[in-house]
Structure formats: structure tokens, C-alpha cells
Homo-oligomer: 349 residues x 2
């Protein structure tokens, strides 16, 4: 298995990626090769510093870099020789099985969608992000690929993320819900109600390869065993960043309170194992990267502020997705689903 790594992607590139690649090669012998894609001088220099050499790494030069604040679509069109584009090209040509980038998410989505194209039966690609909960993870889809989504796109996300929950996270019959402003069936916007109606229709036709549990709310993310939460890419992105921000603020304020006097500081020292365990439990590092589901070839989008451990785990996720063959299963299940009706046929406004 060969994986292309966008060495220039992320806030702390290139070091974070090189460090992550080194850890990956040590931990996963299944990975035959990592293509290190980026500006040749930068990558070569980094390889020396990180002691990366031998047959399991290969430098692939790419003269340009997509900046974090660029328009994704424009970046793909104008910077044909960016580390991100060249990384995706390696998957397109069949040289690599997967691509991992911590760079500009919009550009990664655009590059993968335009160059690799969508799987048969898939109308839109979606990013699925794993939130840790008491039952494993909740796969929130989409967290940013498709902000102005249509209900039928969410049906595709349900099938794709359901397959991920089944194959990678071991849930034989994944529970899939729609993120709404209340758990009652009648809650939501026209968009979520349309999605609800489509999924109900397909459920009645008996073609859903998962259990549809209806509308869910914030607390379902952590307290209940919901394997997939469906949402448009805008709401999903707000939800994800709100989660991260709340946990970060909680941690910061708790630290301040624990340092407020010597007794608390002593107590915190005794209980330090608990805080370390919390850090591990909540760390985005453990998840590493979010798969972009629906495109041909495996594309993993890592957080811009990824740590080396996160990059290592993003590479691990890409390996697992290639290994479990998620994409052929998606095409198979989308074919079984049959035609998704027009929204007007099932949800007359």
C-alpha cells in the first residue's frame, strides 16, 4: 500500500508531516511507501533532519503551495503544481492508494472531487468526522465539504458513513440520525424535514442498509449510541468547531481554577492521571483525519493544526480505508438503494 502525503499542508508544515510520516513507517509495516510531496528543497532538507530515507519514502516535487485562506476551487484551477494537487494526482494515476493532507480543506475537497471524480451513484462527497463518545465514536457527516447541501445528498452520506461505521468501527447495523433542533419527528427546517421524508420513504421501501433513528440533538452526540449524525456541511462545521471550542474553554478554565491556590494545586498534582486521561480521550489526535467519502480513491483531510500523532493517525485511517475496501462497498450499496426520489415526491411543502 502506498500513500501520498501533502508535506506542505497544515499550520506547522513541513515538520509535523515529516514527524508523522516517520512514526507511521515505524508503526505500520503494511505501508510500503509514503510519497512525500512538496517543494523539493524543503522536503529534501526535512528528510535529512528527520532521518527519512530508504525505499519506503519517495520525494515527489511540487513547486507550489495552497495557502490556508485561498479559495479551494481557485487554488485547484490555478496552482496545478501545488503539493495538494500533485498528491491527488498520484492517486489518480494509480501510483498511490490514498492521499493525506492537513492543508486547505476546501482545496482538498475540490482537488479530490475534480481529479478523482465521484464514485458511481454518489452525487456529493462529504467529510465524516469522528467525535469520541461513550460507545466509541459518532460519525458526523458532513463537516464541511458541502455547505449548501440538498436532502438527497444526506441520503448518500447516510449510506457512506453507515458503511464506514460498519467496516471500520464494527457496528453491524449502524444507527443513523438527522441533527435537528429537537428530537421529535416534526422538528427542523424544510431541509431537515425533506431529508427525514426521503429516509422514511427509503426505509419503507426496505432498502436502507442501516437503522434510521429520526431526529437527534446535541446530547445524542455523546450520551446515546448514535453511529452516524447527518447534517449539511455548514451546520456540521459549526457543530464540530463548537465542540472543539467548548472542550478547549472547559479545559482552560479548569486549569485556571486548579492553579488558584496551593491546596487546589496539590490536589491537581495527585489527580494528574485523570487530567492526562481526559486529554487523551478528547484529543483530536487519536482520530487523526476525516475521510472525504464519495470520491474514487481514499482522501483523508487532517486538521490544519494537526500534531505529528494526528498525522500518523490520519495515515493509519487512510490505510484502514484502503484495507477494508470501503469504496467498492459504497458503490454496491448505492446501487441497491435504487433511485432516490425527488424531494417534491415525498415532501410536499
Amino acid at each position: 500500500m502506498k500513500i501520498a502525503l501533502d508535506v506542505m499542508g497544515g499550520d506547522n508544515a513541513p515538520d509535523i508531516n515529516m514527524d508523522g510520516a516517520k512514526r507511521t513507517l515505524q508503526d505500520f509495516p503494511l505501508i510500503e511507501k509514503i510519497y512525500l510531496v512538496g517543494r523539493e528543497d524543503v522536503v529534501r532538507n526535512s528528510c535529512d533532519r528527520w532521518g527519512l530515507s530508504g525505499p519506503r519514502v519517495e520525494i515527489v516535487p511540487a513547486a507550489e503551495v495552497v495557502e490556508m485562506n485561498e479559495s479551494g476551487l481557485m487554488a485547484v484551477r490555478q496552482k496545478k503544481n501545488s503539493s495538494m494537487s500533485v498528491s491527488v494526482d498520484l492517486v489518480k494515476s494509480g501510483d498511490a492508494d490514498a492521499v493525506v493532507s492537513a492543508g486547505n480543506t476546501g482545496a482538498a475537497v475540490a482537488a479530490a472531487t475534480i481529479k478523482l471524480r465521484l464514485l458511481n451513484g454518489v452525487e456529493r462527497a462529504g467529510i465524516v468526522t469522528q467525535l469520541p463518545n461513550e460507545f466509541g465514536v459518532c460519525n458526523v457527516t458532513d463537516t464541511g465539504a458541502n455547505p449548501d447541501a440538498k436532502p438527497r445528498h444526506l441520503v448518500g452520506y447516510a449510506v457512506m458513513a453507515g458503511i464506514l461505521a460498519r467496516t471500520v468501527y464494527g457496528k453491524p447495523v449502524p444507527k443513523v440520525g438527522i441533527m435537528s433542533n429537537g428530537s421529535e419527528d416534526e422538528k427542523g427546517t424544510d431541509f431537515t424535514k425533506g431529508t427525514f421524508a426521503l429516509l422514511k420513504h427509503l426505509e419503507e421501501r426496505g432498502v436502507l442498509p442501516f437503522e434510521f433513528v429520526g431526529n437527534v440533538e446535541g446530547h445524542d452526540l455523546f450520551e446515546h449510541e448514535i453511529d452516524v449524525v447527518l447534517t449539511d456541511g455548514f451546520t456540521g462545521n459549526v457543530l464540530l468547531k463548537t465542540c472543539e471550542a467548548t472542550a478547549k474553554a472547559f479545559g482552560k478554565w479548569l486549569k485556571m481554577e486548579l492553579q488558584a491556590n496551593p491546596l487546589r494545586m496539590m490536589g491537581a498534582a495527585c489527580a494528574s492521571g485523570a487530567f492526562r486521561a481526559m486529554k487523551t480521550r478528547l484529543s483530536a489526535d487519536a482520530v487523526g483525519g476525516s475521510p472525504l467519502l464519495g470520491v474514487k480513491g481514499v482522501t483523508i483531510i487532517a486538521h490544519g493544526s494537526s500534531s505529528p500523532v494526528a498525522i500518523r493517525n490520519a495515515l493509519r485511517v487512510s490505510m484502514e480505508m484502503v484495507h477494508t475496501g470501503v469504496n467498492p462497498l459504497i458503490e454496491e450499496e448505492m446501487a441497491k438503494l435504487g433511485t432516490i426520489p425527488e424531494i417534491s415526491e415525498v415532501y410536499p411543502k
Copy 2:
């Protein structure tokens, strides 16, 4: 000042409301009277149990109760004699200056909007919820009154929540941002981009009574001094519940980790002051209730799971809003704003 309290509203009615009313009367002499609205036998019985009597309480009978899962609009139309409807009627008739309810949010919004009607210049009412942050609070608007909002509604929310930030939270020039999927100007959906274009247009006309800071993200809620965050009622509701759920999960998991062994338990006991301080800091009780801005008369919507302290603070918020005269200011500023252009005039798709 006289306030109507929907005694039957909330998951733990009536006791929670009676307890909250008792605390309020003890703490705030400015409140002349609380109308206790609900089923007469229930309220009378509760008054005996809570020792509430004298000229500062008055029982107002209302035979029906709106359940938490009812459709708001239907409840208002069909249950004309519900505790919620009768409470709002007291404001309409001028007997009460404000109404507080921990009942069905949709019904409270519908009752207030239909019976009290909107302030001059206001097109839609919005719920503003205060999230605690390092600078005081962030006023998130709307958190659920208007799920399918239009960009021009958010302009109204900006003015209304800005006035609240100025008068109640002491920010002379409130900073107002749009919740989006990235902080760059070009990020967002057609809806947020339309809102952005409208606010930019009005900023250029020099009529905004606040500072427009553009798009904001999750971390801005806690880390930056943003006084008002604008969002449609669907996204705002998801955001709010995600915040609550994340903080709750964090607290629960931390407690589990702290109880994992005797050393940690001893440490936690020494540092218990820090955990109590966190609980106070994050508690929704301190905020108490969310004002429904834009309707004539003051309407405060409390959380269904409110504690007595939360009800007491919801009553305090209603008192502050009546006292500071937020509503006349809203009408004044909406008039100064002039005509809000059609979205097609400022944001050609």
C-alpha cells in the same frame, strides 16, 4: 413592576417555579408582584407548601397546560386557557410588565408573537441566549425562534441583541459577528453571505449602532470579545445544545476519571473548590432565561430543565429588561436603520 410566571412550565413544574418565585421576592424588592399562573388547585396547594402569600403574589387560574412536545402554534390556537397563554395575556392587558416561562419554547414564541405582536420595525422575533466567556457573555441570536430565517431577519437580531449587549451587559459599542464555517469574508452559505452583504451595505451607509466584525467561528464564542453572534434559529439551536452537551460530557468523563483510584479521589477532594467554581461558571442557572427579543412586552424563555436558581435569574433578567427599557430603544434604532434593502439588491447570486 409586575411579572407573570407560568407555574406549569418546565420539566419540574410547579415546584421549581414556586421555589424560584420565593427566592425572587426575597432578593428583589423592585418586583411588586408575581402573578402565579396555572391550574388553581395546583398553584394554591404549592403556595401553601412554599409559604407564598401576601400582596406580592396573586394566583391567576389557567385550566390547561401546554405539553413540552406539542406544536407551539397549535397549542396557542387550541389551548386558549393554558398557563402559558394566560401568562402572556397578562402582559397584553398591561397587568404584567413581563412574562417568564420554562415551558414549550415554540409555544412561548408563538404566544408572544401572536398576542403581543412585534415591535415597530421588527420583522421577526429572536431568542438571545448568553454563553459565558472570558469577557462576560456572548449573546447568541437566534437560538430557536426562527429556524428558517432570512438574512434580513438577522439584521434585526443584530440591532436588538446589540442593544441588549449595550444596556444590560455594559458594552458601549458591541462587536457583532456572523456564525460561519470560517472567519474569512468569503466563507459561508448563500444565507450567511447574504447576511454579510446586507450588514456591509448598512455599515457603509453608517447606520449600524454596533461594530460589524464579519464572520466568526466556534472558538470566537469563548476566546474573543464578540458580544453578539448572529445565526439562524436552527444552527443557533444546534450550536447551543452542542455546547451544553460537550460541557456535560466533559464534566461526566472527568468525574469518572477522578474516581478511578484512591490517589485521584484524594486529589479531587483537595481541589474540590475548583470543580465547584467550574460548576458555577458553566451553569446555565446564572443566566437563567433567554429573552425573546422583538415582541412588545418582555418575554423570557427559561430552559425546560431549569433549577429554582435559574427561574429566579430568569425573573431577574425580565426585571432588568423592563427596567432598562430595551424595547423603546429597539424601536428607535430600527427606525434609524431605515429600509433594509432586498437581498437581491446587495447580493447578486
